[in-house]
């Protein structure tokens, strides 16, 4: 039995979610949910996963970055920047498509069957995440400091929906003493979480497209990453199927290394002539059917409609 690309990806996403959140028993501790406090938390996870989630076994790279830059002694975190650079150069936004727990949550939400037309975001929306990265992750923890020179993790504090969903709700619901400290900030974060969850039902990966600073970092590194998308222009028949199936609104033929591409592989699976390859290295095109030079037709009908367009 051949396992589809979608199923393979979903299995990897679920495994990654489980590995990031392997301490499920911490939700059911006596006296309320407790955090895992072992040594693995000195390592960062590649995806967005709040380290204040009781089940989390690794640190969130965005939270870790802010905690170091917001500390008294340091304004830059070589450790986390190095980690993000290494992961980004190796994998780019493959992390978003396969390894990010919050990405999986959004994809599951997008499956809720609502009577909906295909919602599209305005073109400027994809640039908001770069502003979030610069202002909330890089600048505010360093610039907005208290009297002893410590800055707050502004992205975690004001925006991060993963923290509210996986950390805030389980901890506050099992700790009555924390419930007494709820104020405007928690209300704001709940409002934002609900807005993002509704957005994710209506728009595929709403948070990834608009607000995620980690997606912004990996998006920039998509341009140079080892893991890349390659289009064989000799095989491509320009049927447009790849752009049609892309949930991130990318045209892989025009922009194979787009900063928005999460390397999910839907385009490669949809290509009728096997012209798209995703992986490490450059396209060799060994197992793809060759097109007939003049017509663009492979002779095996894949309903690409090239023949109809060219009146063949």
């Amino acid at each position: 039995m051949k396992i589809s690309q979608k199923l393979k990806r979903k299995a990897i996403q679920i495994a990654a979610f489980g590995l990031n959140n392997c301490h499920v028993g911490n939700f059911f501790q006596k006296g309320g949910a407790k955090l895992y406090t072992g040594p693995w938390k000195q390592f960062c996870a590649p995806g967005l996963n709040c380290y204040s989630c009781p089940a989390a076994g690794l640190s969130c790279p965005i939270g870790a970055l802010q905690s170091v830059t917001g500390s008294m002694k340091m304004d830059v975190s070589f450790y986390v920047v190095g980690f993000l650079l290494a992961v980004g150069v190796l994998l780019g936004r493959f992390v978003c498509g396969f390894l990010c727990p919050f990405g999986l949550i959004q994809e599951l939400l997008a499956k809720i069957p609502l009577p909906k037309k295909k919602w599209r975001l305005p073109p400027f929306a994809k640039y908001i995440k770069y502003g979030v990265l610069v202002v909330f992750v890089l600048l505010m923890p360093v610039v907005v400091t208290n009297v002893v020179g410590m800055g707050d993790p502004a992205f975690c504090q004001y925006i991060c929906p993963s923290g509210t969903l996986l950390g805030g709700i389980p901890l506050i619901s099992t700790h009555p003493e924390l419930q007494q400290t709820i104020g405007w900030l928690f209300s704001w974060k709940m409002f934002l979480l609900i807005a993002i969850l509704i957005g994710s039902v209506l728009v595929y990966r709403f948070f990834c497209k608009t607000l995620c600073p980690l997606g912004a970092i990996y998006g920039i590194l998509n341009k140079v990453s080892f893991y890349r998308l390659t289009v064989d222009e000799q095989k491509c028949i320009h049927c447009g199927k790849c752009a049609q199936v892309c949930g991130m609104d990318v045209n892989p033929v025009k922009h194979p290394q787009s900063m928005e591409c999460i390397r999910c592989g839907e385009c490669a699976a949809a290509c009728p002539v096997g012209a798209i390859r995703i992986g490490f290295g450059v396209f060799r095109g060994k197992d793809a059917p060759a097109q007939t030079a003049n017509t663009g037709c492979t002779g095996r009908c894949a309903s690409c409609k090239t023949c109809a367009r060219k009146n063949l």
């Binding site: 955090l35 640190s59 939270g63 905690s67 340091m74 070589f78 190095g82 650079l85 993790p153 923290g163």
Partner: protein
């Protein structure tokens, strides 16, 4: 149709990528030697009130 060389596929680009990986490794070594790992661990094992919306 002639195939245009795609940006990012040459040997030069591979060297750039390897160089970036080297820089990343160097940054991590510098960060570890400065004691950043301890700061990350301390923040991660204690309840982050800001993260959950209480700070």
């Amino acid at each position: 149709m002639e195939t245009k060389p795609r940006c990012g596929t040459g040997t030069g680009w591979t060297l750039v990528r390897l160089g970036l990986l080297g820089v990343a490794a160097l940054l991590m070594v510098v960060g570890i030697s400065r004691g950043e790992v301890a700061i990350v661990l301390k923040k991660a094992v204690n309840l982050c009130l800001e993260c959950i919306g209480l700070g």
